[in-house]
Symmetry: C2
Subunit: 219 residues, 2 copies
């Protein structure tokens, strides 16, 4: 039929496309995704689209309401708090037992350098992306594909929250130097202090987001 390109299942490809639209802010939280509209838009059957919807719903990016359809998830304060509990567990845990010559440390350094460069150009979305790459690399220190995948899902959910707030400078830029500090401690093999600094980082970041949520709530 309209079958083309890659050998991956159509549902997986669709899920990836939709996921990209979600984290790029093309689809906004709360928006309803009509089966008919999107199956037309992507030129696929409703069945295939529904499979993709199931996958993204399981990731927490979409929400399913019985007989009403799927909607883009709307992060709440409870969502943010839960996600930061996950982050503290995974990121601090990974740092605490990190080996200072682990390959992921190189990725962490690249992310920090990239973030600094983007900050120089006032490219705040770029800073945000680089920051998230840094923290994904931190989790990669734990050498578990399951932990890394899980973290990727949570990070995507969190990105939805960032988009909702729409203040990338205030939410990302101030944290670049803290990342640098954590990186330095890790490279020196001071794992315990690195973990400690990360906890401070996450507490600060969480508070900043919750504050922004509060402000956006009382409009």
């Amino acid at each position: 039929m309209t079958n083309t390109m890659e050998t991956l299942p159509l549902a997986d490809r669709l899920a990836r496309q939709l996921r990209d639209l979600l984290i790029s802010g093309d689809l906004i939280p709360g928006q309803r995704l009509s089966e008919a509209a999107f199956s037309e838009r992507f030129d696929v059957s409703r069945n295939s689209l529904r499979e993709a919807f199931r996958l993204l719903t399981k990731d927490g990016l979409l929400r399913h309401e019985a007989n009403r359809g799927v909607f883009v998830s709307v992060p709440t304060m409870a969502t943010i708090i839960d996600i930061y509990r996950v982050r503290r567990m995974l990121e601090c845990g990974a740092l605490r037992q990190a080996w200072h010559q682990h390959p992921a440390v190189r990725t962490m350094r690249e992310a920090v350098e990239s973030a600094k460069a983007k900050r120089e150009q006032a490219d705040w979305l770029g800073v945000g992306s680089a920051n998230m790459m840094f923290h994904a690399a931190v989790v990669a220190l734990s050498d578990s594909s399951r932990l890394s995948e899980f973290y990727a899902h949570v990070a995507a959910e969190l990105r939805l929250g960032f988009l909702l707030l729409d203040d990338p400078e205030g939410l990302h830029a101030p944290f670049v130097d803290l990342n640098d500090t954590i990186l330095g401690l890790t490279e020196k093999g001071n794992a315990h202090e690195a973990a400690h600094q990360m906890e401070a980082y996450l507490n600060l970041s969480e508070r900043a987001i919750l504050k922004a949520f509060e402000r956006s709530a009382d409009l």
Copy 2:
């Protein structure tokens, strides 16, 4: 049509049913699940069944091979090692920051008592279930629904490995008393030592499973 009872989506109900068949050992690792056969067996359309397959594939319980269908996942040593990294991260992390009066502590105690009772009756499968309940309660100490859900998935995958080995007594019974020790330390508020004991527990348990895998491998 054959729409009845619950208000949950059919695909979700199917996924749950299949999941129960999987963790109860009714479907064995490596087995191929024919779309036609199972859509007939559950009296649902192929489309609905495929949605359920996607969900379970995302959980790691099924594996999807292009144009060949879905198979029950076959855990390998790499799977076990990865899962135990997850367990160390989540369970030790949860214990380290646990509050000794957290409601989950009560669940932990119930699980330990249940495990002891089942052990008395030489009900090794019961001991295994109680043990898993204990460890799920440990993760619940961290008060994060995402961490608890993630742990539930990983635990289901691990159960597939246990079924493959088929030695519930050797893999579960020796650990009941260690759980009791960890519980006692937690109740006394000695979080750090509880986490330390849990790490020892997990190292022992991991080694026992890997040993059993080795034995089952060279047949």
